[in-house]
């Protein structure tokens, strides 16, 4: 296991390096002065220019420039945003929690609703239930997320007026920024209106979270269904049935631990499209997260913001997918066989 862990960490470092190299090359290709696209300072004074050239070693060869770039980025210097003139690292830190809040909430929604429905779809003998669940998941899988978001906003936000459709919280509430998670911040704040504010933040979260949850939900349902069907045909399930155990107990004790392994694996593979969808959802619902920050960065040709957004999201995806890979290996003894095999 330690050897495997070590190999995964090496893979993480190597993949991140390649990712940074891609980003570095792309930065060089931006239609702007290199000093500008690296630091974000559009009209540097002579001193700043010298500082930038020194920091990024702009007069040396490409390899040295890349190492300088790595050093700057890894030490937290992401440059300044040429639009707001603020430190990009600070802006990133203020938008990341909102994205985490949204994606965690919809991730939980997808898993906690998706797994039981997948199990029902697998075990149900009723053709109508099976077909309707499959039809629903296939539609959910095919629906363009921006259109779904707009339609939900139209129905529930505008026509019915049940839910707010933009932002994280009503601007009337003044909530101190502590963790960045609005739900926690409202509870932590010591104002008198913290409970209504919490309620309001929760209402704001529902529509974006539901929109974002549709894709992972449908995938979780489909994969759970497949996995449960294949596990329930195994001989050890028949053995458990022969011993006279109750179906529910067989399901919980014997089938689920094995059926959830492919679900975990599929969550790892889904991260990329989940992030893509998250960006679109944030733009539609004006959610103040990385996605809308990044898209406004591209509209304004804010090169440092684009780099920081892509860097943070991709590093996060690399990290999470390797973490899920590790968890998968740790809880699944079957995959350890491959680990020690030579190929």
């Amino acid at each position: 296991m330690w050897r495997y862990l070590f190999r995964r960490i090496t893979l993480f470092v190597a993949t991140s390096m390649v990712m940074m190299a891609v980003l570095f090359i792309a930065t060089g290709l931006f239609p702007a002065d290199k000093a500008h696209s690296l630091s974000g300072i559009q009209y540097p004074t002579a001193e700043q220019q010298q500082q930038i050239e020194q920091d990024y070693q702009l007069n040396d060869n490409a390899l040295l420039q890349f190492t300088a770039y790595l050093r700057q980025r890894l030490s937290g210097n992401l440059g300044i945003s040429s639009n707001s003139q603020q430190e990009v690292a600070g802006e990133l830190a203020s938008v990341l929690p909102a994205s985490f809040e949204l994606s965690l909430f919809s991730g939980f929604l997808a898993v906690f609703l998706g797994v039981p429905i997948g199990v029902i779809a697998a075990l149900s003998r009723n053709k109508a239930i099976q077909h309707s669940i499959l039809a629903f998941t296939l539609t959910g899988y095919s629906i363009p997320v921006f259109w779904l978001g707009l339609t939900l906003a139209m129905w529930f936000g505008v026509n019915l007026g049940w839910l707010p459709i933009s932002g994280q919280i009503n601007l009337l509430y003044e909530i101190e920024h502590v963790t960045g998670f609005m739900l926690l911040d409202t509870l932590l704040s010591d104002s008198t209106y913290r409970i209504p504010a919490f309620h309001d933040a929760l209402l704001h979260l529902i529509l974006p979270a539901v929109t974002l949850a549709v894709l992972p939900f449908t995938l979780v349902v489909r994969i759970t269904r497949q996995a449960v069907i294949s596990v329930m045909n195994q001989t050890y399930i028949r053995a458990a049935e022969a011993r006279g155990l109750h179906t529910f107990k067989i399901l919980i004790r014997h089938a689920m631990p094995n059926a959830l392994i492919p679900v975990l694996k599929s969550i790892g593979l889904m991260l990329g499209s989940f992030a893509s969808y998250g960006i679109v959802v944030e733009v539609i619902f004006s959610w103040p997260g990385v996605g809308s920050w990044l898209v406004s960065g591209i509209y304004q040709r804010d090169y440092t913001v684009i780099q920081a957004g892509i860097l943070s999201v991709s590093l996060l995806i690399i990290f999470l997918s390797i973490l899920i890979d590790l968890m998968h290996t740790a809880i699944n003894p079957m995959s350890r066989k491959e680990l020690y095999a030579s190929h």
């Binding site: 792309a26 997320v145 707009l150």
Partner: protein
């Protein structure tokens, strides 16, 4: 006179035929196939069918509702948008941009992915893992972010969507094909063929590939639906197809201003995207379940 059967022999269907039988016994998959064929025909002939040019504006009929609405006119079957452009014609012209473009992107990335994936899959050791892991890094950049990066470098436009989505899609093909080829390479029938004296090219093409094609086909259908959604999402974010273009995602974005007044300007292109992706997914699902008994 019918031929007399002297010997009792069982007729064994070819694998292709069995896949087709299993596929066509699923009505939904067949429906999807018809829809895809319909879309393919439209991709070629839509400009000839469409009653109006994509950008023709008629100032007399702004925001006309679809024809089934009492206020609608049958000349503009699906209504018009805020510039008086016929939505039905724009949808037809958009088939080429959204669906045709996705086929183009998937075709190109399938080609490169196939070459790199099969090369790295046939190789062993460090060369193989360098080739495949190098692209794993690209795999971690979501397609939308990759497209944003390309747009940042090259500026927005439909041809840059081609590069953005294509670059994001190649690593997926490489990974899938690499894994499939690599897995087959370990099996005993390959060793048997090698002992018979087959060289690497023969082993690759005649021994391994017949068992990898199904993976390639399934991945291709998945890639087409993902590419349509990506093109539309980029059009919607105004990073892909630009304003007057009848690309479906861009049409949704252009309809946004009148969402409350004329919801059909957003609903109809959305339904078109949903219909296309759904039919591609139905075909993909049908193929997957038809190929499943062969793969196992």
């Amino acid at each position: 006179m019918p031929r007399i059967k002297i010997y009792h022999e069982d007729h064994i269907d070819s694998p292709m035929w069995r896949v087709w039988q299993s596929f066509s016994s699923n009505p939904f998959a067949l429906m999807g196939l018809w829809a895809v064929i319909f879309l393919l025909v439209l991709t070629i002939f839509a400009p000839f069918i469409a009653p109006y040019p994509a950008e023709a504006q008629d100032q007399q009929v702004l925001l006309l509702p679809p024809s089934w609405d009492p206020a609608g006119k049958v000349e503009h079957f699906l209504g018009t948008d805020d510039l008086g452009r016929d939505i039905f014609s724009r949808i037809l012209h958009g088939v080429q941009l959204t669906f045709g473009m996705s086929l183009l992107i998937v075709g190109a990335s399938l080609f490169f992915g196939f070459v790199i994936g099969s090369l790295s899959g046939m190789m062993r050791g460090i060369k193989s893992s360098v080739l495949s892991h190098l692209l794993d890094a690209l795999l971690s950049i979501p397609s939308l972010l990759m497209a944003i990066l390309v747009v940042a470098v090259m500026g927005p436009g439909l041809q840059n969507v081609f590069w953005g989505v294509g670059i994001a899609m190649v690593p997926q093909f490489v990974r899938v094909i690499h894994q499939a080829v690599h897995e087959e390479l370990q099996k005993e029938y390959v060793t048997a063929a090698r002992l018979d004296g087959a060289n690497s090219v023969q082993i690759f093409w005649y021994v391994i590939m017949p068992n990898v094609w199904d993976v390639v086909i399934i991945q291709t259908t998945m890639a087409i639906s993902a590419a349509i959604l990506d093109i539309a999402a980029l059009g919607f974010l105004n990073l892909g197809a630009q304003a007057p273009s009848p690309e479906w995602g861009a049409m949704v974005a252009q309809g946004l201003d009148n969402l409350l007044l004329a919801p059909w300007t957003v609903t109809i292109p959305g339904v078109a995207i949903l219909f296309t992706v759904l039919s591609v997914n139905l075909v993909g699902d049908g193929l997957r379940s038809a190929l499943a008994p062969i793969r196992n």
